[in-house]
C-alpha cells in the first residue's frame, strides 16, 4: 500500500484504524446523532439531497487530494468553478445546433480548467514559485475574469436540456451524485493501481528520493494541477447546470470547504500520505454536518464555529496518528 509509504511496518495497522477507519467511525457517529435529533435526516430523499449537495465540492476534493499528496495546494478551485461555469454557459448561448452547443460548452469549460491547472503547474515547476502564492494569484485573476466576462451579471436564458446534467435523476439518483461516484472510482484506480499514482505519493513523500529514482517530478506535479483544474471545471459546469445559469459569484470560498474535506479525510498537508477513500468520507462528514445542522435549524454563525472545531479535531487526530506512527 503506497499510502503508508513513509511509515514503519508497525504503524500500518494503527494508521489504518485512526485514519480512514477512524474518520469513517466519526461519520457513522455523526449520522447516528443526527438521525436521533431530526426525524427528516435519515430519509431516502434527504440522503440523496446530501449526496447531490456534496457532489460539487467532493468532485473538486478528488483533484485537491492529488495536489495535496504532492505537498501542494490549489486555492484557485472556487474561482475556477465560477469562471468555467460562465464560459460554458456563454458558449451554450451561441446559436449552434443543440448537440454541438452542448459538446462545445462542456469542452470549453473543461479546457479552461485544464489550462488554468497547466498555468499553475508551469509557474510552480518551472519558475519555482510556491503553490500557495501561484494559486492565490490565480484565484483573484479567475474571479476577476469571471466578473469582467459577465459584467457582474449572471448568464441566463439557457436551453432547458442543459439542466439535465445537474438536475435530472437516474433511478432517483441525481446525475451529479453518479458523476461523483464515477470520478471517485477512477481516482481510486489511478492512485492505487497505476504507476502515476505511485509517483504522486513518491513525489509528495520525498521529492529528492523520487527525483533520484528517476521520476520526472515536474511532470507529475504539472499533471496533478491539470487534474485538479479539470475537476474544478467539471464541478463548475455541474453547478451551472443546477442553477441553470452562469453565476460569476459561484463557488465563493469553495477552496476552503474542499481543503477541509481533504484534510479531515486524513491526507497530510506535508504530502505523501492520504487516500481517496478518506477524502470521500471527509467530504461526506462535512456535507452531512452542514445538512444536519440546517435540518435542526441551527443558525449559520453557529455552523461556522462547529465546522471550524471539526476541522481542528480532525487535524489533531492526524497529528496524534503521526506521533504514534513515529
Amino acid at each position: 500500500m503506497p499510502s503508508e509509504a513513509s511509515s514503519g511496518v508497525l504503524a500500518k495497522p494503527i494508521g489504518k484504524i485512526t485514519g480512514e477507519f477512524g474518520i469513517g467511525i466519526a461519520l457513522l457517529i455523526e449520522i447516528a446523532l443526527f438521525s436521533q435529533l431530526s426525524p427528516y435526516f435519515l430519509t431516502a430523499d434527504n440522503i440523496l439531497n446530501v449526496s447531490l449537495q456534496t457532489s460539487i465540492t467532493a468532485i473538486i476534493a478528488v483533484g485537491m487530494t492529488f495536489v495535496i499528496l504532492t505537498a501542494g495546494i490549489d486555492l484557485s478551485v472556487g474561482a475556477l468553478v465560477a469562471f468555467s461555469g460562465v464560459i460554458a454557459t456563454s458558449v451554450l448561448k451561441y446559436p449552434f445546433p443543440p448537440v454541438l452547443a452542448f459538446g462545445a460548452a462542456l469542452v470549453s469549460g473543461l479546457m479552461i480548467g485544464a489550462l488554468s491547472g497547466l498555468f499553475a503547474g508551469i509557474f510552480i515547476t518551472k519558475f519555482r514559485i510556491t503553490p500557495f502564492i501561484v494559486t492565490l494569484a490565480l484565484m483573484t485573476i479567475l474571479r476577476g475574469a469571471a466578473y469582467m466576462y459577465t459584467d457582474g451579471r449572471p448568464i441566463w436564458g439557457l436551453p432547458e436540456e442543459f439542466s439535465i446534467l445537474g438536475s435530472r435523476r437516474v433511478l432517483d439518483v441525481p446525475v451529479p451524485s453518479i458523476i461523483m461516484i464515477v470520478v471517485y472510482l477512477l481516482a481510486y484506480l489511478v492512485l492505487h493501481q497505476t504507476r502515476f499514482g505511485r509517483y504522486v505519493y513518491a513525489v509528495g513523500g520525498n521529492p529528492e528520493a523520487a527525483r533520484l529514482s528517476g521520476i520526472d517530478t515536474s511532470r507529475v506535479i504539472l499533471s496533478v494541477y491539470v487534474i485538479c483544474g479539470s475537476l474544478a471545471a467539471l464541478s463548475g459546469i455541474l453547478l451551472a447546470s443546477r442553477m441553470n445559469s452562469g453565476q460569476p459569484n459561484a463557488g465563493l470560498m469553495y477552496e476552503l470547504d474542499v481543503i477541509a474535506a481533504v484534510v479531515v479525510g486524513g491526507t497530510s498537508l506535508f504530502g505523501g500520505r492520504g487516500s481517496i477513500v478518506g477524502t470521500f468520507i471527509g467530504a461526506m462528514l462535512i456535507g452531512v454536518l452542514r445538512n444536519g445542522l440546517n435540518l435542526m435549524n441551527v443558525g449559520s454563525y453557529v455552523q461556522m464555529v462547529v465546522l471550524g472545531v471539526v476541522i481542528l479535531l480532525a487535524v489533531l487526530f492526524d497529528q496524534l496518528r503521526k506521533r504514534v506512527g513515529a
Binding site: N46, N49, P154, P174, M243, Q247, L252, R290, N294, S300
Partner: protein, 306 residues
C-alpha cells in the same frame, strides 16, 4: 433725441445684461459620481436625476466611478476644484469614499448620497429605496397567496443592513397573520449556489413548507431551483429586485410568484428634490426612503403590453 434713445437703450440693455448675469449665477451646478452607468438600475437613476435637474434648471456634471474607488475619488476632487454647488455620490465603497467626502466638507460643498450610503464624512441627505417597506410588501403578498395560513422560510443574508431591513419588514408583515409561522431563517449569502443548498435543506426539514422569501433575486432563484429539483408543488416564492431572470421566471408561472421592485428613477428625482429643498434653506432629513412596489405575473404582463 437720438442721443437720449441711445442712452436709454444702453441703460436698458445693461440692466437686462445684469439681470441675465444674475439669473446665470442663480443657476446651480451639481457634480454627480454614480457607481456605474452600465446597469439598467443606474441608467434609470441617472434619467431621474437628469429630468428633475432640467426642470429646476440645474446643470449636472454626470460621471461614474465604474466600480473604481480611485476614479470616483478623483472625480469628486475635480468637482471640488470646479466649485460645484452640490455633489451627488453613489459610493463605490461605503467606507473608502470617506476621505473624498471629508474634502468636500472642508470646501463647504454639500454632499448627497443616492442608493448607497457612506459611512464617513458629513452627508446632508441619503436617498435610497425603503427596504423595510419592500420586505413588508413581500410579506403581505405571500400572506395573501397563502390565505393567511402556512409555514414560510426566509433565505437571508444577515450581514447586510439593507437586507436586515427587508427581513424586518417581512417579519412585521407576517406577524399580523397568526396563521403563518416563520419556520426557518437561513443564510443563503445572497448567492444562487448557496441558496440552492440551504433551500434544499429547508425543504427536507419542512415537508409542509408553503412559502419562501428570498432577500434578493439570486436567493429567490436558488430557492426556485431547489423547489423544482425536489419537485415540490405547494411552495410559493417571493423575490426582490425584479432582475430579468426573476421576471422571466414569474412570467413563466413558476413557483416564483412575485418580486419587490425598486424605482431607481424616483430615487434620482427625489435626490434633486432634496437638493432643491436644501438650496432654498429648508431643513432636509438625514435619510429619505423612496417607495418600492411589488410585481406579479399580471402586473408584468400588463406592463409589457401597453
Amino acid at each position: 433725441m437720438k442721443r437720449f434713445i441711445t442712452a436709454c437703450l444702453i441703460i436698458v440693455l445693461s440692466v437686462l445684461g445684469c439681470m441675465k448675469q444674475q439669473q446665470h449665477s442663480a443657476s446651480k451646478t451639481i457634480g454627480v459620481s454614480l457607481l456605474t452607468r452600465q446597469h439598467v438600475f443606474y441608467k434609470d437613476l441617472e434619467e431621474g436625476l437628469s429630468t428633475a435637474a432640467a426642470k429646476e434648471g440645474y446643470e449636472l456634471i454626470l460621471t461614474s466611478g465604474d466600480f473604481d474607488l480611485g476614479k470616483q475619488s478623483s472625480q469628486i476632487e475635480d468637482f471640488i476644484t470646479r466649485k460645484v454647488d452640490a455633489i451627488i455620490i453613489s459610493p463605490v465603497d461605503s467606507r473608502g469614499i470617506g476621505p473624498a467626502i471629508l474634502k468636500a466638507n472642508d470646501a463647504n460643498i454639500p454632499v448627497f448620497t443616492a442608493d448607497i450610503a457612506a459611512q464617513e464624512g458629513n452627508v446632508i441627505c441619503h436617498i435610497a429605496s425603503d427596504n423595510v417597506a419592500g420586505g413588508r410588501l413581500a410579506g403581505e403578498y405571500l400572506a395573501k397567496i397563502l390565505s393567511g395560513k402556512g409555514n414560510v422560510a426566509v433565505i437571508d443574508q444577515p450581514t447586510l443592513t439593507s437586507v436586515l431591513d427587508r427581513v424586518q419588514g417581512f417579519k412585521d408583515a407576517i406577524a399580523k397573520y397568526p396563521g403563518i409561522t416563520i419556520v426557518a431563517d437561513v443564510n443563503g449569502e445572497g448567492r444562487r449556489d448557496k441558496a440552492i443548498e440551504v433551500a434544499s435543506d429547508i425543504l427536507q426539514a419542512h415537508h409542509d413548507l408553503n412559502g419562501i422569501f428570498g432577500i434578493n433575486d439570486d436567493s429567490a432563484l436558488g430557492a426556485l431551483d431547489a423547489v423544482q429539483q425536489f419537485n415540490r408543488k405547494n411552495v410559493n416564492i417571493i423575490g426582490y429586485d425584479a432582475t430579468p431572470p426573476a421576471v422571466d421566471a414569474i412570467v413563466k408561472s413558476t413557483a416564483l410568484k412575485a418580486d419587490v421592485i425598486q424605482y431607481p428613477k424616483k430615487i434620482g428625482e427625489t435626490t434633486i428634490g432634496e437638493i432643491r429643498q436644501y438650496f432654498s434653506g429648508a431643513s432636509v432629513p438625514k435619510v429619505v426612503p423612496v417607495e418600492v412596489g411589488i410585481v406579479d405575473k399580471e402586473a408584468l404582463q400588463k406592463a409589457s403590453t401597453p
